[in-house]
């Protein structure tokens, strides 16, 4: 299929024109991407900018004096606080600027990474997977034009995001939020976004499937977050391996270290270049791995509804368990640093002695388990979204015109979503339990952690229930299934800083789970959450049995 012109020795003089050919059509494709994302892109940029700006705007009301600010800073004398937010620069003079740098930068960097990954995959691998890229490539479009256009658009989006931060924040006229610090902050956020753009540019070459490409790049965001948490609590080395860590190490508003910004820049260039090189080693539509022949006949297990659903989700489930298990292992390995941290801190020990009850280790573990639970929730939602895409792609249609009832079809996917969600959560808990158990030399802790992980399972099931209810009632709006998780994330990242009222906390299912091992176990929330999930599932399946099947 491919023309072999590339094999012909090229005279040095026309090298530039050959390079130009590989990029032919890039400008058109850029305009095309901007046209397709004329709503999506501004919404992302506005939402991310608003997150920072509105948080900053609320500071004067919430933290009017130095006393309140320093009280807030005291939170980051704890390992849990540091693991959650940032390395804690400028805590001794906790200005509004330092607050932004400590508590917002990491969060917005994650979101910028998410935006970059989703957009880049959407305009590269998704286009190839659906076969649309083939149609476009048949025109006067160079080999590298698709990737180049996507990288340029997504990269520019990150630069615009940085610029918006750099300009809007100081314009608010808040004390200590100056132009210099804001420029550093904007640049550091853009830097993180750029690195994840580069990572996605590589992952889209590796796999044939857009879902897997997003998953790999998304896992990189998770790894980056875990690395900086581990590094910030421990000896700092790991933080320097993380793009999110880099954005915090820029020390915006405290004492800006501009040279740190070189790291994301260099990393982005290297990653994007890798992406381009890899893309020349594969055919349009395929990944780097060629697919091999498989069995000519189905095993008896595959041809049961549940066996088939398991087969569809098997790869994702496996990777999620491995990834979350590693996530848990990393967090557990910080435990000895946490102990060291507490031992070094006399004030903290005194405070703990006064309070009694939960140890700092326990509350750190409880916080880690809640983070693991929030991330594990993603699997269940993705599983139900997968079910929806089975329907829209027309693959469910031939199955449902066999003797397979809709309830059994949905049920088999639900079993995988619920059981798989629990398995992912347990894998994460197991990872944490192993390293924490060894570090603390206490097998009982391992048991406590697994119990804590189990207790969160009904809370993450709520999102599965919501997803299936939406799937049944308003299938087009399946994206709304993320609402509970996004809300819980915002709450855990910003709720404390913005001092959300109690009722807002109560809206998140995760807030109702007893924070084991720091708190006592209570059965009521577990039962209630499970009952709500069951109700949502009943509604979803019943509605699905009554509605039309839709295909694209």
């Amino acid at each position: 299929m491919t023309l072999t012109t590339a094999d012909r020795p090229t005279p040095a003089g026309i090298t530039t024109s050959a390079g130009g050919n590989a990029l032919a059509g890039t400008a058109t494709l850029i305009r095309f991407i901007l046209r397709r994302d004329r709503i999506r892109l501004p919404v992302w940029l506005a939402a991310l900018t608003l997150t920072t700006v509105s948080t900053a705007a609320s500071f004067p009301d919430l933290y009017p004096t130095e006393v309140e600010r320093q009280a807030r800073a005291a939170l980051f004398d704890s390992p849990a606080g540091i693991a959650m937010s940032g390395p804690g620069f400028g805590l001794d003079n906790y200005t509004y600027g330092s607050m932004l740098a400590q508590e917002i930068v990491g969060f917005v960097a994650i979101l910028a990474g998410l935006m970059s990954v989703l957009l880049l995959v959407r305009h590269t691998r998704t286009e190839e997977e659906t076969g649309r890229a083939e149609l476009v490539r048949a025109g006067v479009v160079g080999r590298h034009a698709h990737l180049a256009a996507a990288v340029i658009v997504v990269g520019s989006a990150n630069l615009v995001l940085g610029a918006l931060h750099a300009v809007l924040l100081p314009s608010m006229g808040l004390e200590s939020i100056n132009w210099t610090g804001s420029l550093a902050l904007g640049a550091s956020i853009a830097g993180a976004g750029l690195v994840f753009t580069g990572i996605a540019a590589v992952t889209v070459q590796v796999t044939e499937y857009s879902r897997a490409a997003s998953g790999l790049a998304g896992a990189a965001i998770g790894v980056a977050y875990a690395l900086r948490a581990a590094g910030d609590i421990g000896d700092n080395v790991l933080s320097w391996l993380s793009p999110i860590g880099w954005s915090q190490q820029t020390r915006s508003y405290v004492d800006e270290r501009w040279w740190v910004l070189l790291l994301p820049l260099v990393a982005t260039v290297l990653l994007v270049a890798t992406g381009f090189v890899l893309s020349t080693r594969r055919d349009v539509g395929s990944g780097l791995r060629q697919s091999r022949p498989g069995p000519a006949q189905a095993s008896p297990r595959l041809t049961t509804p549940l066996g088939f659903a398991l087969r569809l989700h098997r790869g994702a489930l496996l990777w999620w368990c491995v990834g979350m298990g590693l996530f848990g292992l990393v967090y557990g390995s910080i435990i000895s640093d946490v102990e060291q941290f507490v031992a070094d801190n006399q004030v903290l020990q005194d405070a703990m002695a006064d309070v009694g009850g939960a140890t700092l280790i326990d509350s750190f573990l409880a916080m880690v388990v809640s983070i693991l639970a929030t991330v594990s929730t993603i699997f269940g939602i993705l599983a139900i979204q997968r079910m929806r895409s089975e329907e829209t792609s027309g693959r469910a249609e031939p199955l449902l015109s066999t003797a397979l009832s809709r309830a059994r079809w949905a049920g088999s996917h639900l079993v995988v979503a619920l059981g798989g969600g629990a398995a992912v959560m347990l894998a994460a808990g197991l990872g944490l339990a192993i390293t924490a158990g060894f570090a603390l030399d206490d097998a009982a802790v391992a048991g406590d952690i697994l119990g804590a992980a189990l207790a969160y399972v009904p809370a993450l099931w709520i999102s599965v229930g919501l997803a299936i209810a939406i799937f049944g009632l308003i299938p087009r709006a399946i994206g709304l299934a993320w609402a509970v998780l996004v809300y819980a994330l915002v709450l855990s990242m910003l709720g404390g800083l913005l001092q959300f009222p109690e009722w807002m906390n109560n809206l998140s299912p995760f807030e109702h789970v007893p924070a084991l091992p720091a708190e006592e176990f209570t059965i009521t929330p577990i039962v209630v959450l499970t009952a709500i999930t069951a109700g949502l599932i009943w509604i979803g399946v019943a509605a699905f049995q009554r509605r039309d099947l839709t295909t694209n």
Binding site: Q297, A298, L302, F308, E397, T402, A403
Partner: protein
């Protein structure tokens, strides 16, 4: 005997679009019924209603004596469906997909499966993504034809197949029919319907506009005649029931209503016939008669359209 498929006044709307607008369809047990219409006429929507994948807004439908919505699972054991646009699971091989669909229906005959794989020259070990469109279609065809069912519902089943494979398909349908089973074959390929079908329903804009055996439908249409005569056949245009006369010296082409055939031939024979070709209209021509108003100006059959419009006035 109850008809295999019996539909009365089926209506299905998607928002403002009325996809089915009072559709009637009857398919007798033991026949191959052609379901013919242009793209977007409502063929696939009808089939999806018959499979219980869509719920009709109003009207009555019965498949193998049952209600397609309420008795879906029971009915699906007795029928097989081949969609026109087959989308396979990327990480399953074609063989696995065939077995999955077959066993979920209640099992398939392994001998027939092997036989069909061979006849369609399909490699069952390839993964879903690596199949071409035609090969994906073959996967669905093998899964459908290898199962032991009373009714086969085929939605443009040969799209993407090469002529050789189309011939294999025709052969397979004939074998399938040998056991007195029923086929509903939706298509816009007229030759295929002509070759296979006992009866045909023509659907347009959500309604069946005509239904009957091919002979019934031919009865409603004109016959095409090409003749060469000794004297120039100038008077032919005045004969009642003769249309679209085109003269080229002593050669004439025209169409004639079936009940005026006799008069036209009489007229010709007075002129001294040297050669005469007459052929029944192909389904292509039947089709054009029903959808003639959709043909763009400048088309070769434009004259027919004008003629028809004049006839109606």
């Amino acid at each position: 005997m109850t008809p295999a498929i019996d539909v009365k006044g089926l209506v299905k709307t998607f928002g403002p679009v009325r996809a089915l607008d009072g559709l009637d369809l009857s398919v007798a047990t033991g026949e191959v019924h052609g379901f013919l219409g242009p793209n977007g006429a409502g063929k696939s929507t009808t089939i999806r209603v018959l499979l219980g994948l869509l719920r009709a807004d109003s009207g009555r439908a019965s498949v193998l004596g049952g209600d397609p919505w309420h008795d879906a699972v029971e009915l699906h054991r007795r029928l097989a469906y081949v969609p026109g646009d087959v989308n396979l699971w990327p990480n399953l091989t074609g063989g696995e997909a065939i077995d999955l669909l077959g066993r979920l229906r209640g099992g398939l005959d392994p001998r027939r499966r092997a036989d069909l794989l061979e006849r369609f020259a399909l490699d069952p070990t390839k993964k879903g993504r690596t199949y071409s469109k035609g090969n994906r279609q073959k996967v669905a065809l093998v899964a459908g034809l290898a199962s032991d069912v009373e009714l086969l519902v085929l939605d443009e089943p040969t799209s993407g197949l090469d002529p050789l494979m189309e011939a294999v398909f025709t052969e397979c349908i004939s074998e399938f029919m040998a056991d007195g089973r029923t086929v509903l074959l939706s298509s816009h390929i007229l030759a295929e319907v002509e070759k296979l079908c006992d009866r045909v329903s023509i659907i347009r804009a959500g309604r069946v506009v005509e239904s009957g055996t091919l002979d019934d439908l031919r009865h409603l249409t004109r016959t095409s005649v090409t003749a060469v005569t000794e004297q120039p056949p100038t008077g032919l245009a005045d004969v009642a029931g003769v249309h679209d006369v085109s003269l080229d010296g002593n050669r004439v082409e025209f169409e004639v209503d079936t009940d005026h055939m006799d008069a036209a031939i009489r007229e010709l024979s007075q002129l001294g016939v040297r050669s005469l070709i007459s052929h029944p209209p192909t389904l292509e021509e039947l089709f054009l008669r029903h959808y003639g108003d959709e043909i763009q100006p400048g088309d070769a059959n434009d004259g027919a359209k004008v003629e028809q419009a004049g006839g109606q006035a």
